[in-house]
Symmetry: C2
Amino acid sequence: MAERIGLNTIILHGKPKISAYAAVGGSMEGDGQLKGKFARIFDDDTLGQDSWEKAESFLQQAAAQETLNIAGLEPKEIDLHFAGDLLGQCSASAFSARSLSIPFVGLYGACSTMALSIAIAAMSLESGFAQKALAGTSSHYCAAEKQFRQPLEYGGQRPPTAQWTATAAGACLLEEGTGQPAAGVPCVSQVHFGKLVDLGVVDANNMGAAMAPAAADTIGGFLRDTQSIVGDYDLILTGDLGSVGSDLLRQLLLNDWGVDLSDRHNDCGNMLYRADEANEINAGASGCGASAAVLCGDILSRMARAELKRVFFVGTGALLSCVSPLQGESIPAVAHGILLESR
Amino acid sequence: MAERIGLNTIILHGKPKISAYAAVGGSMEGDGQLKGKFARIFDDDTLGQDSWEKAESFLQQAAAQETLNIAGLEPKEIDLHFAGDLLGQCSASAFSARSLSIPFVGLYGACSTMALSIAIAAMSLESGFAQKALAGTSSHYCAAEKQFRQPLEYGGQRPPTAQWTATAAGACLLEEGTGQPAAGVPCVSQVHFGKLVDLGVVDANNMGAAMAPAAADTIGGFLRDTQSIVGDYDLILTGDLGSVGSDLLRQLLLNDWGVDLSDRHNDCGNMLYRADEANEINAGASGCGASAAVLCGDILSRMARAELKRVFFVGTGALLSCVSPLQGESIPAVAHGILLESR
């Protein structure tokens, strides 16, 4: 069972554990800062499929399958599967889930989906709805560009504030915990679901600016609810604000909440690609797969090795649609936070 | 807390209650079989907005607001808000949720979303994640036609198997229950999440055929898990298979599970529009809003009056995307079942 504290933070007394996790990615992702940390790299961005959408489904399925392999479990041993993605009708997740045949719950949180799916999977364990739950997400650069921006063949220029949608996927297996953070196994100990925050940003090429206020609201609200300070955490990990959004987050937290992130903050958007690719990727990585890759490829392993013990992972999502910016709408954003702990 | 029984059914010991609910709709919906049962009817399908997408957001927001009004609650008194819809990036839900400012979880289950959102909201109550949760969904005929089929101006012909996307929305407020079905207040007592089922239907104008196998799998699996029979329920309510899918469901359940639905089955797709509109609407109503309107406008009230006491509500969703049928993909479907009880 869980318990609400403050305005909007939830303490999970069962401490569901993340017992297996894997990230997969494309060639550019595999050759970046996470080199050697992917369970599988696909050198061909089509993944042998005849559409970008099918390629992304295959990618998400690979992350789920690698996670199950690590856990030594068959899909039929999993009670519930939670997943979502950026494509219209969350189709990468649906077509990936079709191959697994686990009772399936589709989620939509844009780039916050890795945090959201873990949070909801953890809720399913705390409620007794599941004993084993799979959470995952994906994104694919070519599928996202085709849908949200221009066909790749058009060769459109990208402004400096734009982020690069990662071709990557991640998945986690959650199981019932022991009620305490354990050595070698990260657990989900607190959750803070975010409200939609929209300060009126209308530039769909500046997601960092659109999402930073939501991240500030969630981090500020979480610290207030838990009466804790930045120094209580080894890492406050946002994903994915990129370089522009990260700067804004620091300013907003300092101005509005009096919170200085100092050296405890990093952003998944700045942790995926190599620095010498900065000209191409502009303001950093984005897409559901970016934070999925950083979390499942790197952070959870570091927690298992006790290099990090308390990580507040804040998934950030821009809840625009393909058409809403063209209709003059501003961009509502959301940030879902989960406190991960190990010992 | 909840408990799993059989292969995939969950007993909710807390029996979260559905303490307020409301449906809103367009003029054709308001003048159909549910006449007089909508909390609000919009005679102008634009709802005063300048795009169909914004009209749908406004519709969903109206259903949520009517529900809160009935409950006498402010948005800030609600812990979590669960919603989804058919539009790309679930934008009707996001832009609706923006106005409420309740911590928001986006879901995607296509036309199963009313059942899915209630199931997940019930899970949030059983886990202690929330004491009060809002669940809702919407669809809009014009927004759906624009996205999935042809611009309305094109005047395309619809085949006899096609269903008519309802311009409607529904919302429910869930609160902690007493552990027993109560008089006058429906509760959620069991949940059965569905697997994706895909028997190879590729005709995006025949959703009933695509979804019937998923509905059969969920109803058959639920009866098996609970060792119950059709006669134990006052109503097995699917939504939305329409006339074609309902016939197929009966055949599949009889052939594959030996289950005869006899007179206990109805489908939300056949319960919304007037019979004399059959030529226009073809095989019945569909869209997230159809089952939302039937459930929140009619069924829950009948349960509150004890005309119905045990209703197994099975939301069915076709998890295709706008592009997947054009890429030759078949249509995966899902059906999520919730047992509603009153006394």
